[in-house]
Symmetry: C2
């Protein structure tokens, strides 16, 4: 096992949930709204729309390549998964009125302190098309360089590591990368490099 | 353009939302619950978990190949997307206590009336790992045959079509297949066939 994968495993150990207690706090992040939809064929159907923080919840996923061709991966608590910790790529919600690529730039900088010379959009997809408008965009970020420190929200915990592409693929094979966003991003990066 | 893609386009026209009206009905499908998570490193974080119908919302996605090597795709209203209609594969939530493969078998039968001789699990992934436990499974369904009629819920509208793999890839390229579930399923099917 490579040194960086060992470090990632160690970090996953540290971030593991030892206990999860159902809280009395009310959640305000996730809400929903019902719509009556009139279809062209004459039928009327009702559908419930998932909102996050009152918005669609569209996100960007960034696959950052450094100048020496390493990929930045992030480790974060993913408390509702089996491992309670996940490995993936920098990602985050696009803010109101923000262009997707600016969201990608901002999230990369916040989560890792890296800046990219170029962003290339690889694909976009609906995260949960049955009940949400969240349209996520995958960006490749090229020639990334560390320019400042991480700037995380109070409740946010993110550690990042530099991996080779082979190490990223190994992390997926071993089941450390389990999220739809990161898995789709890996596929699209593979397609992109193959096509060149 | 192939005949079946023309038929799919026509069906998409029929299912299009002409109007969507915010309803006074309260949504009961989407709810959330807050958890206080105690991490190994000593930190305590709060995370809100998305529930669908009070459950995790894990789903199966089925890529059905018929005996003559056609793939069944489904067209459904996806009212919260730009097109308001989506093309994808049969899919649905796994029921309480149901094994994933049984959910796949049931959903395929309900949405299309087809039965498969064999189900092969291709992959699994978290649909929205930041705020949900939904663990979706992708199945390849082989040697499918029509055995009965569709059996849809009252509010469900699903039409299915038999396509070649090339037509499925064309549907994705043209932006008709836009959901994370279906896009990941296509990738995994491509990998599967290449590996054989």
């Amino acid at each position: 096992m490579s040194k960086v994968i060992e470090q990632i495993e160690q970090t996953m150990q540290e971030m593991k949930s030892l206990a999860q207690i159902a809280s009395q706090r009310e959640g305000h992040f996730i809400t929903s709204k019902v719509y009556e939809c009139h279809l062209n064929c004459g039928r009327v159907i009702f559908r419930e729309k998932l909102l996050k923080n009152g918005k669609d919840g569209s996100a960007t996923i960034i696959v950052p390549f450094t100048k020496d061709n390493r990929i930045l991966v992030v480790v974060e608590p993913r408390v509702f998964t089996r491992k309670t910790v996940g490995v993936g790529f920098p990602a985050g919600y696009i803010e109101e009125g923000e262009e997707a690529v600016m969201g990608a730039k901002r999230e990369l900088l916040e989560e890792t302190g890296y800046n990219a010379e170029e962003f290339i959009k690889l694909d976009e997809f609906y995260q949960d098309e049955g009940c949400s408008s969240a349209l996520n965009r995958i960006f490749l970020a090229l020639n990334c360089e560390k320019v400042k420190e991480q700037k995380l929200d109070r409740d946010e915990i993110v550690k990042y590591f530099e991996c080779t592409l082979d190490e990223v693929l190994e992390l997926e094979r071993r089941g450390y990368i389990e999220g739809a966003n990161s898995k789709l991003a890996i596929m699209k990066v593979k397609e992109y490099w193959k096509g060149r």
